[in-house]
Symmetry: C2
Subunit: 206 residues, 2 copies
């Protein structure tokens, strides 16, 4: 059995959607960031990093979105969420997701979580101010260079799609007008219509 620890309005949405799309049987445990569940001793046993997502499997616990997405895709190959036996195309998927994780998500995080990198309140305000520029530049690059269409990697829906959808859903709150990125915006609209996405969003916002 798989159990996903998630919190609403976080990057764990990508893993949550991917589990649903994969056809896996899974359970969920919901954390409330408002209640600081992620810092409680019970959760630190699951994920000592105090973050979501964490995926509890029969073999152990996994963290980090790019790793979890590939694990789900490899465990449930019938869902065709990654190409089989094609190291280059797989690497392109990994590269895209790594960019989302280490650059785009990090750019976004400087709006609400500047305290991670500075103890100074005025400094955090200056970080917050730069978020629209940084997140906007990341999405410019995605729109121009990396989004193949109709899905991120072209004709095939892959584990890049729910991850892009998750981070693109933060654009307005990050102070970036999604209309600047017609392909990403259209992708977001089509993603939101997928049955798996509708189901998981309904669960996360319930």
């Amino acid at each position: 059995m798989l159990t996903l620890f998630y919190a609403a309005n976080t990057c764990s949405l990508a893993s949550h959607i991917t589990l649903e799309e994969s056809g896996a049987a899974f359970e969920t445990m919901r954390l409330s960031f408002a209640e600081n569940d992620q810092r409680k001793p019970e959760y630190l046993k699951i994920n000592p990093k105090s973050r979501v997502p964490a995926l509890v499997t029969d073999q152990g616990i996994l963290t980090e979105t790019p790793a979890i997405l590939v694990f789900i895709a490899q465990m449930f190959p019938k869902a065709n969420l990654i190409p089989a036996n094609d190291p280059f195309r797989f690497a392109q998927i990994q590269s895209f997701n790594s960019y989302l994780c280490a650059t785009v998500h990090v750019a976004h995080a400087h709006r609400m979580r500047g305290y991670r990198w500075s103890d100074d309140q005025p400094a955090m305000e200056t970080m917050k101010k730069k978020v629209p520029q940084n997140v906007g530049e990341c999405f410019d690059l995605i729109e121009r260079e990396y989004f193949k269409g109709p899905w991120v990697m072209g004709e095939a829906y892959t584990i890049c799609d729910p991850y892009l959808f998750t981070i693109a859903s933060w654009l307005e709150a990050d102070g970036v007008d999604p209309k600047r990125f017609p392909k990403v915006l259209d992708h977001r609209t089509r993603m939101a219509q997928r049955p798996a996405v509708k189901k998981i969003l309904a669960r996360e916002t319930a």
Copy 2:
């Protein structure tokens, strides 16, 4: 043919070492960050993100360390740099490398590259000040929770090892005493003795 674009004293060292360990035939192109090579039009055609590493392959160009390391491991399976047909162990490797990329490297980057996240010089100074704490906490976690020994993932040398070695080599400059992490420090010492590592370090520092 494979061509690695790298710069000395950067995370591209992990890909450089891994290419050497894999037995691949490859060429290198060295960028000078002091000369801002990474922002020149010729290089932006290779990597529009203005970063290293970039790996030029016969099928196209790859960026992002975690993606490049897995690609090399999959293209040269005889080097045994990742486990074959074991999604969970592979996911543990991916999780470790994703943490290095998106959390540890990012914590480090706030020392020299605070301008990425703020336009304000005093704010950058406050970020710089917090780097020893943040990088130190990351390595505490690695030492306590994730390093299995003798290599990162246990008995088998994997693509986690050159990546950890690369980032651990920045500890002193980040203001963190590596003696706090005996396992990581011993690993760093043993890594530095591997013929492939000696060869690549000699090339990068030449």
